[in-house]
């Protein structure tokens, strides 16, 4: 059992942070890796990126968005409760070195995995500029933390309720038009955002790293559920990634594969809510 030492509600009913006791993982993990957790006996194995780690206190922090039945049930857990399973660190660590001027782009819950990578990039001597995107102000997370590890943070919101109104790609385009060259872009967020970023950087020839989150089962390379196409090759995101060269990813396929269980996910939510369980998540809107 893996105890939740701290729970923080970042956005009520939508974004939750757990700090979990996991000594072995805390000792060995690096930025860019993820864990597989299972809430209880009937639970799914859920992959979540390591948003932070504390080697001394032997904890791993994960931040998740409530999107379906599993994450909704998890959101109801409190500090002191325990997760049944928590395995990791899985996947390849981020490639960190001194690139020069690095633009980190986080969209929605994608800011969570961007944060530790940005921190490492800064430690490696890079100039870190961060663009954080959210649908609205209340859905923006980790702004303060990102400030600490970036020389500049630019926030965009879809509805203009905070920062600049618009999309992260608009800010990126401005940076690309500026005088200083960009050596690397790292983008993590909704697939559509990552794809748009890659389209913007492709022609300019700016290396762009994305972190993919295909559907996974084991997360150890055993099932192939997470396969994606990168260039001419089929890769298993859980062992070969989750980070890949965004310019080579077959986005159409990745998007279609993420819908493989859409009907079943919907069914699980519907039955769950028909049991009289009321939640504050946006699943009803998503289902329509």
């Amino acid at each position: 059992m893996y105890q939740i030492l701290r729970k923080k509600v970042l956005v009520p009913d939508v974004m939750i942070l757990f700090e979990v006791k996991a000594p072995l993982i805390a000792a060995s993990c690096q930025a860019g890796q993820f864990v597989m957790l299972r809430k209880d006996e009937v639970g799914e194995r859920i992959p979540l990126t390591i948003a932070d780690f504390d080697r001394k206190n032997e904890t791993i922090t994960v931040i998740f968005q409530v999107v379906g039945k599993s994450t909704e049930l998890m959101a109801k857990m409190e500090a002191g409760d325990s997760l049944l399973d928590f395995a990791g660190p899985l996947g390849q660590p981020s490639h960190i070195e001194k690139f020069g001027r690095v633009v980190m782009i986080g969209g929605g819950v994608g800011v969570a995995p961007i944060h530790p990578i940005a921190r490492e990039m800064k430690l490696a001597g890079n100039e870190v500029i961060s663009i954080l995107g959210a649908r609205s102000h209340d859905l923006l997370i980790l702004e303060e933390e990102m400030n600490k590890v970036s020389s500049e943070v630019i926030v965009t919101t879809d509805d203009g309720s905070y920062g600049r109104k618009g999309l992260v790609t608009e800010v990126l385009a401005e940076l690309m038009n500026g005088d200083d060259p960009i050596d690397l872009v790292v983008a993590i967020g909704p697939m559509i955002m990552m794809q748009a970023v890659c389209e913007a950087t492709r022609e300019a020839g700016i290396s762009t790293v994305v972190s993919l989150n295909p559907i996974m089962v084991d997360g150890t390379g055993m099932c192939g559920a997470c396969r994606i196409e990168v260039g001419a090759d089929t890769k298993f995101a859980c062992v070969d990634g989750p980070e890949f060269d965004g310019h080579k990813v077959n986005w159409k396929l990745a998007r279609q594969r993420s819908l493989m269980f859409a009907q079943e996910e919907k069914r699980a939510m519907l039955e769950h809510h028909n049991e009289g369980d009321v939640c504050g998540c946006r699943c009803h809107q998503q289902m329509n």
């Binding site: 072995l24 395995a87 899985l90 089962v217 099932c223 559920a225 079943e264």
Partner: protein
């Protein structure tokens, strides 16, 4: 229960067929996931045991990879000393309830049985299963003698049959053994691969509990190579390491369309169904989507298991698509027979060449080419040759690729100085000794995908070698 009389036993001894296995009938069982073969009753067991000639020179024994004293345990059955029979088997096998169910007996022990020369061999596997089940159901599991603790720590990586056996044997010798398992439950393929209706999970768990009772500590959720490396284990004071990480890497065919929605590797399909209990979705949260028409590519045990799971999940038509003929199918004979009974269609001498999808990227059809058999290849099997112009389309909405698994690469990639073979296996001698001192390996990770009993035998042998190594 009516026990057979001496006369009945004498009659039974003359029967040339194996006593049939009581089973759920095919119409019922495709509606559920409970065990198909129900097991011999005591009466069945006595009547079948009567067919054994208790040969002095027991031919059957040479076919058993772990050298079970077969005539000896069957003799105990005849004497109605079933617990004694179980003890006999356990002298060399630690998982009799499992092997009695899943060993390919027809190509092992039973292949050599004298009775098989005229008629059918003795049902050795069925008797083995009876004895093991009897012992478990009586709650009569006897703990073997355990040597006093010697304080020496040994690490075992992987909790499949190889790892479990190696750990159990070492614990009996007094070692302090820890198993590290990547998944959330122990058991390896026995838990995530082989379905409930063929190998009930409570039986596997009973065997795992037995290993725990021997004093073995099992730590799940530890991925060696990621959570900790082999060398870190050794630095932590584990004086020997056994690697039993199996062949869990799914192979794909490399044909167009394999990444369409609705195409699963057999591992994904079976893991969703068995390990994650997808057949009980949404009570269990892991979904599985099964279409109406399912094609399974391959004809080994993994393919038969996938086909029969698909049927039970409600698929209307299930096809086994295999490029050779029935004779070459690598699956256990009984599984093939059960699959036929359950209405699985066999498209033999058929090579899948492409999977085609609809506009939304979902599988729509499987393009196949008919084959004929040519000359035997290195493996001695006749290799299939495509017949030009014989292409046709099979309408399906789900495809399960079950053409084999390769060794898990993680340990090899993260352990320096560990020699590997051409297909990604770890090189080890017959004692399991690898190219690195103190590191042993056995089971599928060394042989490539093989059988439960071979993995168990390898684990046992390595335990002996580890003991000798640590004492020298």
């Amino acid at each position: 229960m009516q026990m057979p009389s001496a006369d009945e036993l004498k009659q039974a001894a003359k029967i040339t067929e194996k006593r049939p296995m009581p089973s759920q009938n095919a119409q019922d069982r495709v509606q559920n996931f409970t065990e198909v073969a129900l097991g011999y009753t005591e009466e069945d067991a006595l009547l079948e045991a009567a067919r054994c000639l208790t040969c002095k020179k027991e031919e059957c024994r040479q076919g058993c990879p772990v050298d079970i004293d077969i005539s000896g345990f069957i003799k105990k059955i005849k004497e109605r000393d079933y617990v004694g029979a179980a003890l006999k088997i356990k002298e060399t096998s630690s998982l009799p309830a499992i092997c009695g169910r899943v060993c390919p007996q027809e190509s092992q022990c039973e292949q050599y049985c004298i009775r098989g020369k005229k008629g059918e061999p003795v049902g050795i596997g069925r008797l083995e299963r009876f004895v093991a089940d009897y012992e478990r159901n009586q709650g009569a599991i006897k703990m073997p003698e355990i040597a006093p603790a010697n304080g020496i720590k040994v690490a075992v990586i992987g909790s499949g049959p190889a790892g479990l056996t190696c750990a159990g044997e070492l614990a009996k010798m007094g070692y302090s053994v820890t198993i590290f398992e990547a998944l959330h439950v122990a058991g390896g393929v026995l838990m995530y691969g082989i379905p409930e209706f063929r190998l009930p999970k409570d039986i596997v768990q009973a065997d795992i509990n037995y290993v725990r009772q021997l004093g073995v500590d099992i730590q799940t959720n530890v991925v060696i190579g990621r959570t900790m490396k082999v060398d870190e284990l050794m630095a932590q004071g584990y004086q020997a390491v056994f690697i039993g990480t199996g062949a869990g890497l799914p192979n794909f065919m490399g044909i167009p369309g394999e990444n369409l929605n609705g195409v699963y590797s057999a591992n994904e399909f079976l893991t969703r169904v068995n390990l994650m209990k997808g057949y009980r979705f949404p009570e269990y949260l892991t979904p599985i989507r099964i279409g109406r028409r399912v094609a399974i590519l391959g004809a080994g045990n993994v393919a038969m298991d996938s086909a029969r799971c698909a049927k039970r999940l409600g698929a209307e038509e299930v096809y086994i698509v295999y490029r050779r003929s029935e004779k070459e199918m690598p699956a256990r004979a009984e599984e093939v027979e059960h699959a036929y009974e359950e209405g699985i269609h066999f498209r033999l001498l058929t090579q899948p060449v492409e999977i085609k999808g609809d506009v939304e990227n979902w599988v729509k059809e499987l393009i196949c080419v008919k084959c004929e058999l040519g000359k035997p290849d290195e493996s001695g099997r006749r290799s299939p040759i495509n017949i030009p112009g014989s292409e046709y389309s099979l309408a399906v909405d789900t495809v399960v690729v079950a053409i084999g698994q390769s060794p898990n690469p993680l340990i090899q990639a993260t352990t320096e100085g560990l020699k590997t073979g051409r297909h990604g296996t770890i090189d080890a001698n017959s004692d399991g000794q690898t190219s690195r001192i103190g590191i042993f390996a056995g089971g599928d990770i060394v042989t490539g995908a093989a059988t439960v009993i071979l993995a168990m035998g390898a684990g046992r042998k390595s335990a002996g070698a580890i003991d000798r190594y640590l004492k020298s």
